[in-house]
């Protein structure tokens, strides 16, 4: 099991700050590909299905051009936080009816045991996203280091 530290949750392999997608589907597929290629998932299709199941329960565009889709899924092997920044504004169901260009895709395994510590870290990240000042610095981050500092420091 991976040690539940910030380092294990902040994984540049599943972060892409230069995504050329134009639709929600393309973004979710791209970030899911990154998660899959980096060993977080055993199956892409069923993970995407679980993301859209969550989408069906309520919108994940939190406003301020940020979306937080999440899939709790049997297909997730390790808790992961995929982060994407897109070059185009992406239409997304949002509380402020605005499109998004920053996407945090939470990958959470269905069996909670062993992932509690990671879920704590994810909860911390979510808490930070709810803070307008921190959100500003997250949105203005230009590279991995700045993003990591904004998210976890």
């Amino acid at each position: 099991m991976i040690e539940p530290t910030v380092e294990s949750l902040f994984d540049p392999k599943i972060i892409d700050l230069n995504i050329n997608a134009k639709t929600k589907d393309e973004v979710i597929t791209h970030l899911t590909d990154l998660l899959y290629e980096s060993g977080y998932l055993k199956d892409k299709d069923s993970y995407i299905k679980d993301i859209y199941f969550r989408e069906s329960l309520g919108i994940t565009g939190m406003g301020d051009n940020v979306a937080i889709p999440h899939g709790k899924s049997d297909s997730v092997l390790n808790t992961g936080l995929a982060i994407g920044k897109t070059n185009h504004m992406i239409p997304w169901e949002s509380y402020d009816n605005q499109p998004v260009n920053i996407i945090f895709l939470f990958a959470v395994p269905n069996n909670d045991e062993g992932s509690k510590a990671h879920l704590h870290l994810l909860a911390d990240v979510a808490t930070r996203l709810g803070n307008d000042d921190i959100l500003k610095s997250i949105k203005s981050a230009q590279d991995f280091d700045q993003l990591k500092n904004a998210l976890f420091k």
Binding site: G63, I68, Y95, L119, L122, A126
Partner: protein, 107 residues
């Protein structure tokens, strides 16, 4: 005004915690004291004590799932969907001040 409350969303992964932060920031901005318990996938955190509930002027339940309300018997309870907090946290707290007729102490 003393506010206590609970946030709980369907998956218990993200909105629960974002909403907590938004309520707290808005309440503090308006000069209120506030404590919000999260009921997410990691279980209840920042749990409200009986004393805190007793001393509170109002209870906010920003929940999209059923939570146990028996602890709040006899209290003024405002039940709202998480989406209201996500959209306009300051508006929610202001409205509650209006509803229970407690003037806003700071701005």
């Amino acid at each position: 005004m003393k506010i206590v409350g609970i946030t709980a969303c369907v998956a218990g992964i993200a909105h629960t915690y974002i909403a907590k932060e938004k309520i707290e920031k808005a309440a503090i901005k308006l000069g209120d004291t506030v404590k919000i318990e999260t009921q997410g996938s990691i279980g209840p955190e920042n749990v409200l004590t009986d004393e805190e509930i007793r001393d509170a002027d109002v209870v906010i339940l920003a929940t999209d799932i059923e939570v146990d309300k028996s602890r709040f018997k006899g209290k003024k309870v405002v039940a709202i969907p998480i989406s209201m907090v996500m959209k306009s946290p300051l508006g929610v707290i202001k409205k509650i001040h209006e509803k229970i007729n407690v003037p806003i102490s700071a701005m």
